[in-house]
């Protein structure tokens, strides 16, 4: 019997159930025979709104369900809060209960119909047959939604990879790279001989090791060039006089991303790879990491960091966007990419400041602060300036006198940063604003007013000023300031509650009925991924972070620390981090696409442009934001 013939021999209802299944992952990846097996063995049941579908009292789970119409709500009783929480929602095309049927145990969550609901279900033996015969079904059941997440990430990667033509992943541990056998020498070897050894082996660097093979320094052709040009020493001097001491080292278990970030930060092109006892086992160069890549992170960071003209800095910005494409192609996740962007932005900001100090030094030491997303190290290509200045008032000067010198300088820096693509802040949250160019005492007073006399308008600024970081200049004074702020927030329960209430207002883009809630301002059918997707996470996490003395400003790092402090359940936090990263990834992909089409960057997307899988995962991510907000609600009794 031919395949076409077979299809028409299947009863109409079997065919219609097959095509229903086909529209949803993981069934969309399953073969017709497996789908037919499912459809022919399925049972269709109806549950009215509020009916219990599955509960712990039913004992070991014997059926596997797919929602055909309607929704299922998972309920868990929260004993602390004395109320029932919705832990998840399952909508059309989604399945349950995976963990319980695979674990052959009762479900731990009460499954209740939310609205009139029809479910298809199969018996355990049919389920087992499908698991053993269909690879994609097995993959889905054993790895759950995370396998779908992988699929989304894979697609984001392949999309970005199309132009790159490389398959090396940034998560590859260094030991998997063909590590160069390092050329080494002792510290006493004359430079002339060291260079001869490099020449013989045709390498650009030599590692200086002690007797136990611990790397103590590195000498490169670049150092040789500088040495000859600046005549710092002779070729007969021992190499230790000119080597760069304490070279950057990583273990073989570190991954390519760690290596790339370390190189970008220090502008090195080589890293030593060492074993657990810090003995040298190999070298890795930036060229090893990105052999097939046209734009590379380290070189870009170095070019930005050493640019001598604003013009150069401006032209380098397009390379940053190409780099983001490349990084996504190399498997960097969204958390890594935003860090890369932030790192490069930091380098740019620093260089603009350095160039201006060279040209026109205000003569007063200061710390350049960044707020908001840059403060959290969560910048994307769409970014505006949020910065300020912290200074120590020199003796014999008033604060206003200091400002007289710093403000014109800051004005120029703000304008030049704008030329580099950091849009001027519409709210004037910039260092050239006299209200944000303050001495440490003034900042302290500012925060006292902010926290103790908090007004609703003040709270709007919480997302900006409570995520603060130093980009340039001494850090100690900021650390002291932030310590005092942190203590004040922890002591002030009322402020925490107001902050929590404010965070609670940031509703994720879901309606009560679990459809997408669109922004109404002009943009028909648009989702604002920043305000309706990321902000609910960022704001809620900030409240918990500040209340519990977490120092980090980065949202993902804050969540990690909150797990360590037992404020967040590790599983919950993992789900929230996944969800947050996914929204960020979809946002960045859409930025790259807008850039490609030459459009102005926005944070809006139309969910209709997403495929079924992305839509579903995006919805699930928003749902996680709702769960995080529920925690906020319970903790602060909002």
């Amino acid at each position: 019997m031919t395949a076409a013939n077979q299809d028409t021999t299947r009863p109409q209802n079997t065919r219609s159930i097959m095509s229903f299944l086909q529209a949803h992952a993981p069934f969309s990846n399953m073969g017709d025979d497996h789908l037919a097996h499912f459809a022919e063995h399925a049972t269709l049941r109806f549950y009215a709104d509020g009916d219990v579908v599955l509960s712990a009292e039913d004992g070991i789970v014997h059926r596997f369900y797919v929602v055909k119409q309607g929704r299922i709500r998972g309920e868990r009783h929260n004993e602390k809060a004395e109320k029932t929480e919705t832990t998840f929602e399952i909508s059309q095309g989604e399945c349950f209960p995976l963990a319980a049927i695979i674990g052959e145990r009762p479900t731990r969550t009460l499954h209740r119909a939310a609205g009139d609901t029809f479910c298809l279900s199969i018996e355990q033996n049919t389920f087992v047959t499908l698991i053993s015969e269909s690879e994609s079904f097995r993959d889905f059941c054993l790895r759950g939604v995370s396998s779908l997440l992988d699929q989304v990430n894979q697609r984001i990667q392949t999309g970005a990879m199309a132009s790159m033509g490389s398959s090396i992943s940034l998560s590859t541990p260094l030991e998997r790279y063909a590590l160069r056998n390092p050329i080494v020498c002792s510290p006493d070897l004359p430079i002339r001989k060291a260079v001869a050894r490099m020449h013989e082996n045709n390498v650009g660097s030599i590692v200086i090791t002690d007797d136990s093979r611990h790397p103590t320094g590195i000498f490169t052709l670049r150092d040789l060039r500088t040495m000859i040009a600046e005549e710092t020493c002779t070729l007969d001097s021992p190499v230790r006089q000119i080597m760069t001491k304490d070279p950057c080292c990583l273990t073989a278990q570190a991954d390519a991303f760690d290596a790339a970030m370390l190189m970008a930060e220090h502008h090195f092109a080589h890293l030593c790879v060492v074993d657990e006892d810090n003995r040298l086992i190999g070298m890795v160069s930036e060229r090893d990491l990105f052999s097939l890549q046209r734009v590379d992170l380290v070189n870009l960071a170095r070019t930005i960091g050493t640019a001598t003209h604003l013009r150069t800095l401006v032209s380098l910005r397009t390379d940053v966007s190409r780099l983001v494409d490349a990084m996504m192609a190399h498997g960097a996740d969204s958390g890594q990419v935003v860090k890369i962007i932030t790192t490069l932005n930091d380098v740019t900001v620093r260089r603009v400041l350095e160039l201006n100090i060279k040209k026109n030094d205000p003569g007063i030491p200061f710390t350049w602060l960044t707020f908001g997303s840059e403060g959290r190290q969560e910048q994307t290509l769409l970014t505006d300036q949020d910065n300020g200045i912290l200074f120590q008032t020199p003796e014999g000067m008033t604060e206003d006198q200091v400002r007289e010198k710093l403000l014109p300088f800051a004005r120029v820096v703000n304008d030049e940063l704008a030329e580099c693509g950091f849009t001027l802040c519409k709210g004037n949250i910039m260092a050239s604003n006299p209200k944000l160019c303050l001495s440490d005492q003034e900042w302290d007073d500012w925060f006292i007013r902010f926290i103790d006399a908090s007004t609703p308008q003040n709270l709007v600024y919480s997302s900006i000023f409570l995520d603060m970081r130093a980009v340039f200049g001494p850090k100690e004074h900021l650390d002291e300031l932030l310590d005092r702020v942190s203590t004040r927030v922890r002591k002030n329960a009322l402020f925490q509650k107001m902050l929590a209430g404010n965070a609670f207002q940031r509703k994720p883009a879901l309606t009560m009925f679990r459809n997408f809630r669109f922004v109404s301002e002009g943009k028909k059918h648009g989702l604002d991924l920043k305000r309706q997707g990321l902000a609910p996470f960022v704001e809620a996490v900030r409240v918990f972070a500040l209340a519990n003395g977490v120092k980090s400003a980065n949202t993902l790092e804050r969540m990690n620390e909150l797990v360590q402090k037992n404020v967040f359940d590790a599983k919950d936090a993992a789900a929230w981090k996944d969800a947050y990263s996914l929204i960020q990834a979809i946002r960045m992909r859409s930025h790259q696409e807008m850039l490609e089409r030459g459009e102005e960057l926005t944070n809006y997307i139309n969910p209709d442009d997403l495929n079924q899988l992305d839509r579903r995962i995006l919805r699930e991510s928003f749902r996680q934001a709702q769960r995080l907000q529920q925690k906020l609600e319970v903790t602060y009794q909002l």
Binding site: P11, Q12, N13, R15, S16, F20, A42, L44, F46, D116
Partner: protein
């Protein structure tokens, strides 16, 4: 299912099943103390060449079974008896079954015998059941000489009986399907309409259970009472 029919026909032809004569077919069950949560109900839909039982013919039979309160898709009936566009009267086109499997001239008979056996005398529900009942009984009598009466219940009465306040745009299957947001895969395909009707029946049975109705008799009585009430209103 076609494989089932093929096997069944094979068995019958080789005389391995002895009880296929109409008089040996399962006896229709009467609505008694069978529990709704356990019994088997047939939900059926016919496609016909027209609206008059006297001159029109059945084209296709689609049916699903409700077992223990759920539609069991491994227990369904989907058969085209005749294709009017081919204008071959008295010929069953059982799709996918080669002519060699069919005894010449007995196709309709075979199919109807199989239907009777599959129905197993269980109560039948249909949307506007009077229509389907007339056609099916006429056909069974003409082809097989079978005259026993199944218990029929009308899904079109069942729904307003349990949802008297539902605001539907009309009394048709489509109106109720829309009311409950059902998606009907291929409207006017017998099997597809039977499934949609069965889904509505599940909704009604869920409500019946909540109203304390437990047995088939109670359901049957409720429908009769509802019908009488309506007749009174009409007078």
């Amino acid at each position: 299912m076609l494989e089932q029919i093929r096997q069944w026909i094979e068995r019958r032809r080789t005389g391995r099943t002895g009880n296929t004569a109409p008089e040996n077919m399962p006896n229709p069950k009467t609505p008694g103390d069978q529990l709704l949560s356990e019994c088997r109900l047939i939900v059926l839909d016919l496609e016909t060449t027209g609206l008059h039982p006297n001159k029109d013919e059945v084209i296709a039979v689609g049916a699903v079974a409700i077992n223990g309160g759920a539609i069991d898709l491994s227990d369904q009936f989907d058969l085209i008896l005749r294709r009017p566009e081919l204008d071959i009267t008295k010929t069953v086109l059982i799709h996918g079954i080669g002519p060699e499997a069919l005894t010449q001239g007995h196709e309709t008979e075979d199919a109807l015998l199989f239907l009777l056996e599959w129905m197993n005398g269980d109560p039948v529900l249909a949307y506007h059941s009077a229509f389907d009942q007339k056609f099916l009984e006429k056909t069974l009598k003409a082809e097989l000489g079978y005259t026993q009466n199944h218990t029929w219940m009308d899904a079109a009465e069942l729904l307003p009986a349990f949802f008297p306040n539902a605001l539907t745009d009309g009394k048709g299957l489509d109106n109720w399907a829309d009311h409950f947001g059902l998606e009907v895969s291929a409207r006017h395909h017998a099997a597809s309409d039977a499934l949609a009707t069965a889904e509505l029946v599940l909704i009604a049975l869920n409500k019946a259970h909540k109203n304390g109705l437990k047995t088939l008799r109670e359901l049957h009585d409720k429908l009769r009472y509802h019908r009488r009430l309506k007749d009174i209103h009409r007078m």
